[in-house]
């Protein structure tokens, strides 16, 4: 106990001196500098890749800026793509705090959207204030059941959650195709099989004065609430313990099973909400447009944010900007549409590679500043 006290008091006292501030800053900055550095390294390697293809990286990044963040129109495009990414990233980040790698958020998005589209017919007579929450509930529930089942399989049967969640995403997409082309198909949708279009009062509108639908605001609120849940509640504390060491958590009597099912179900509910907004605010009906890969980009967002819900917000905006610029890059630079996917791949590998640097760089460890290299 004595040693603990010593570290505590010396740490507090040294904060008053300039060197103390520097040391505290160095310790704190590790969690920011390494991921940002990895992101830049990934972008740099992608720039070299473009050079080997005879394209100009400067032109590429200038176009990304212009199409993603340059004008109010491009911001609007970027922010509408941000909303589903926020939810999809939470579906990865929440289970990740328990040590689970869940990558099947796409399945929950798709089923959330289908549940919303299926219920829309039944509630078409209701006012929006009643119908929209009901649709959101149905979509969230569908996603929660889908990803919660992955967590339950993990805990009660020991099934690997990474493989199981991706398999269930494929099953969800097959289910959607079956429902949208079969039982739920609107006979009027000829070229693109869809559910019946939502009644006007059930459509989710824009945030006043923003030209961006309410999904963005709700996604940010979801990120803030998730941060509070993880960092400021006993459940979040218990989850972090279980994520660090399951055995220790079980010895302490923590309800590991309930935590795993609860966190995966919550993540799935968020992903399901992404599907609800895609249907009710963007497409107006559930169809194959639901499976456009937001769930997979969400994995990258969560890993870049190191599973911190607050960091998810800026990272999601950044990656949404890259995706929003895809069309302009294809037209102006004559690059294939998979270019953004290659970029994401390089950034993803770079961010995972950077994991090896934590705790190994002396600049972030003031107590080792005196040592020789």
């Amino acid at each position: 106990m004595a040693t603990v006290d010593q570290i505590g008091t010396s740490g507090r006292r040294s904060l008053l001196s300039p060197e103390g501030w520097l040391a505290a800053l160095a310790r704190r900055s590790e969690a920011v500098v390494i991921p940002v550095g990895a992101l830049l390294a990934g972008l740099l390697v992608f720039g070299l890749f473009l050079l080997t293809q005879g394209k100009s990286p400067a032109e590429f990044y200038a176009l990304v800026y212009k199409a993603g963040f340059g004008t109010s129109f491009s911001w609007q495009n970027t922010l509408s793509r941000t909303a589903p990414l926020l939810f999809a990233a939470l579906c990865v980040a929440l289970p990740a705090r328990l040590g689970l790698v869940v990558i099947g958020g796409e399945g929950a998005i798709v089923l959330g959207g289908v549940a919303c589209g299926a219920l829309a017919g039944a509630v078409s007579g209701m006012p929006g204030a009643l119908g929209i929450p009901l649709m959101a509930l149905a979509g969230g529930l569908a996603g929660a059941v889908w990803i919660g089942a992955v967590g339950a399989l993990r805990h009660f049967r020991g099934v690997n959650e990474t493989i199981a969640s991706l398999l269930m995403a494929y099953i969800a997409i097959a289910l959607m195709n079956h429902l949208v082309e079969g039982p739920l198909r609107d006979p009027a949708s000829l070229n693109k099989p869809s559910t019946a279009p939502l009644a006007d009062q059930l459509r989710i509108g824009d945030i006043p004065g923003w030209d961006v639908h309410w999904g963005l605001a709700l996604g940010i609120v979801a990120c803030l609430l998730s941060w509070v849940l993880i960092e400021r509640t006993t459940w979040g504390f218990a989850a972090r313990i279980a994520g660090g060491n399951v055995r220790a958590a079980q010895v302490q009597g923590l309800p590991v099973g309930r935590l795993i099912v609860g966190f995966t179900a919550l993540g799935g509910a968020f992903a399901g909400l992404a599907g609800v907004f895609e249907v009710a605010a963007v497409h107006g009906a559930a169809n194959a447009s639901l499976a456009t890969g937001y769930g997979y980009t969400g994995i990258l967002v969560a890993f870049l944010a190191r599973h911190n819900p607050l960091a998810i917000i800026p990272v999601a905006v950044l990656l949404a900007g890259f995706e929003a610029s895809s069309g302009l890059i294809q037209r102006r630079m004559d690059l294939p549409d998979a270019t953004v996917l290659v970029l994401q791949g390089f950034v993803f590998v770079a961010i995972l590679l950077s994991e090896t640097l934590y705790g190994r760089l002396k600049i972030f460890a003031p107590e080792r500043w005196g040592e020789r290299a």
Binding site: L153, N160, L300
Partner: protein, 308 residues
């Protein structure tokens, strides 16, 4: 002779033929994954390797006019992906499952990027051998037209089984996979051996991809693989890391994958999306049946992160 003469018999015959056709990529990817996992590492990125192998095999076969040059190119590309995966995972604190996801994304992105010009052109197919000469039925003849790669896959499964069982290399891989400490005590370098095993496993997955684009379905497009690489990883658990069992599991999964097209060929059209989901449901069912929350899976390499 028309379908009508065979009646419902057309379904099992189409499924048998389909199982042989569809199983080959499962077989190659799962053999590669067995090799990697036996050394104590998991490569979830084989889905990306499979897709990149399909693209590079198709492109090289089209450019050279030789399908076998395509297969070779796919194997080389796959081993480069595997080598990269292996080297990254050798660094401390790097999560091999997460790297697998990233490599899956990168492999697919690069395949779609470089594969764009090859969606239209037609590359030469791999040759196949007809084992159905004894039958007058065209359906049976079609079902038993077996691709040479399928036979190579069977040979590779037997070879790997023998290698793990009776050779020095096989023993070294098994030691590294079961205990890093024991391997070090024997003077082996686990990181090097795992990296080489991952590279060799990647080559197998690349060949599996070349089969997809050069024989069945036999063209290159962005939807060529829908999770076969990932299902093969699950299949390895089911096969208990035994190459011979991988062969039977691949046939089983191939049959499940052939269910949708077989039903469609006899005119069942309603709900066929659900039948297309059969391999995924089967994989999930097999995972649930073979996993256990309390004990390690029998036959699992001791150092494997996925079963610990």
């Amino acid at each position: 002779m028309s379908d009508g003469d065979l009646g419902l018999w057309a379904i099992p015959i189409a499924m048998l033929g389909g199982a042989i056709r569809v199983s080959t990529p499962f077989l190659f990817v799962s053999l590669g994954e067995v090799l990697t996992e036996r050394s104590g590492r998991i490569n979830l990125g084989l889905e990306g390797t499979l897709v990149f192998g399909a693209m590079s095999g198709y492109a090289v076969a089209y450019l050279t006019g030789s399908p076998w040059a395509g297969v070779l190119a796919a194997a080389v590309a796959g081993s480069i992906f595997g080598l990269f995966h292996g080297l990254i995972c050798s660094l401390p604190r790097v999560n091999d499952i997460a790297i697998g996801i990233a490599m899956m994304l990168l492999g697919m992105g690069l395949a779609f990027y470089f594969g764009k010009p090859y969606i239209q052109p037609v590359a030469p197919d791999l040759p196949s051998i007809g084992f159905g000469w004894w039958s007058d039925l065209p359906q049976v003849q079609a079902a038993l037209r077996v691709n040479v790669l399928f036979l190579i896959g069977i040979a590779a499964a037997i070879f790997l089984w023998w290698m793990f069982r009776a050779t020095r290399v096989g023993l070294i891989i098994r030691v590294v996979g079961d205990s890093t400490d024991a391997a070090r005590a024997m003077g082996l370098n686990p990181a090097v051996i795992r990296t080489l095993a991952t590279a060799a496993g990647g080559a197998f997955a690349g060949v599996g991809g070349a089969y997809l684009s050069l024989f069945y379905p036999g063209s290159w497009n962005e939807g060529i693989s829908s999770g076969q690489g990932l299902m093969a990883v699950a299949l390895v658990i089911f096969a208990r890391w035994n190459p011979i069992a991988c062969f039977w599991a691949a046939i089983l999964f191939g049959g499940a994958g052939a269910l949708g097209p077989a039903l469609q060929s006899v005119g069942v059209s309603s709900g066929y999306y659900l039948f297309y989901a059969a391999p995924y449901v089967l994989t999930l069912g097999v995972l649930i049946a073979t996993s256990s929350p309390t004990r390690a899976v029998t036959g699992a390499p001791g150092e494997l992160s996925i079963t610990k």
